[in-house]
């Protein structure tokens, strides 16, 4: 059920003006995304600030929060995610497919759901990103993203997969 939901989310597209084809060097945008992981169905919220390096490359820095449960363990994680995104192709400046790589750093905060136990740790790692953008208007676009994360020093697990959907707003 989670897989179907995530596939539908990522293909519920409207569009984005920064379908990379319209981006110029120095353009800036902010994004807000919401998503979930494949294994459990936690909450993941992310805000990003992006900067266009050229027509093909975009760098962005984001802060994300993920919360959820894995059976008897509740987790609340905060991530810092600097990324570098590359535009694979654009279609009529309405539609873009982007791939990227990013670093991950943050804190993992675990709480037992049955006993008064807590555990926190600093985590770090990286992620691979696949993204689709679609224009809604000159300033707004819709983004769907899949990302495979790998983190070290995690008690929850090194590997997890997130799907998100959100909006991007051109600043200038």
């Amino acid at each position: 059920m989670n897989k179907i939901f995530l596939i539908c989310c990522c293909f519920f597209l409207i569009g984005e003006i920064q379908a990379q084809g319209n981006l110029v060097k120095g353009s800036r945008f902010i994004s807000v995304k919401y998503g979930a992981s494949k294994y459990s169905f936690p909450r993941f919220v992310q805000g990003e600030l992006g900067f266009c390096l050229n027509r093909k490359f975009v760098s962005r820095i984001g802060i994300g929060y993920e919360g959820g449960n894995v059976d008897n363990t509740r987790f609340n994680n905060v991530y810092l995610t600097p990324d570098l995104i590359y535009n694979i192709f654009s279609y009529h400046n309405k539609f873009s497919l982007n791939f990227g790589l990013g670093a991950v750093g943050g804190t993992e905060n675990l709480e037992s759901r049955v006993e008064k136990n807590w555990n926190s740790s600093l985590i770090y790692g990286g992620r691979g990103i696949a993204e689709i953008e679609y224009c809604i208007s000159q300033k707004v676009s819709l983004k769907g993203e899949f990302s495979q994360w790998y983190v070290n020093n995690s008690d929850l697990g090194n590997l997890f997969f997130l799907g998100t959907i959100g909006f991007s707003f051109l600043i200038n």
């Binding site: 293909f11 294994y39 894995v70 008897n72 363990t73 899949f146 495979q148 697990g157 997969f161």
Partner: protein, 230 residues
Amino acid sequence: MKHLTILFCLIFLFSCDKRKDFFTNQNIPSTGYLKLTDPLNSLTSTINGNSVIDTLKLGQSFTFTFQITDENQYLNLKFDGDGELKMDGASFTQNDITRNDKHSFVWTSNLIGDNNFQLIFKDKYGAETIYNYKIIIFKNRIPKISWLIKDIGILSPYEKEIDVSGLDGDDLYGGKIIYYQYIINQDTTLFTGNKMKYIFPGQGLYNISVRAKDNDDEWSDPVIISNYPI
């Protein structure tokens, strides 16, 4: 669009998510400390890890204390199997208990033969520690005896003493021999002692039989010697 759909489906299908339940994974089952409180049970029980095997005479009870330790404060204890169990004097089947508390248990059963029951300790994460008990209940064990004849010869050259040795089969469980039956040819004597003096009529061959009766009103197998020469 079709290619993109296929691409994203492939990405999704080859994704990897290996999150685990941290607190459940690091949880360890509880550890119990059993102490048999009846001195008799301490002699007859065999404790092998989490298993206890013992024998019990019908009407007696199996008593022990138990203390459980765990990193969790509360555990669930369940009694499952034959017989009836009392914890701290009250009838017990299942309840939550606090770690490190010591509890006394009394188990009884009217079922002769193998009685099996379990004490199952379960913590909040679902980890179980099971203690298995096998109590073999018997109704009674008959005495086992042997005898020999000693020469006395004080009152008569044919004065002898029949000296019987042996115990009731459940002597360890409080069983006792209450009297003996001595049969010499057709002469039958019931005597509470295990040493009986007897003056044989004369030289000859005698059929001598001795058996014992226990406090459960059961006879031992007779020990017979035919044509014993006097």
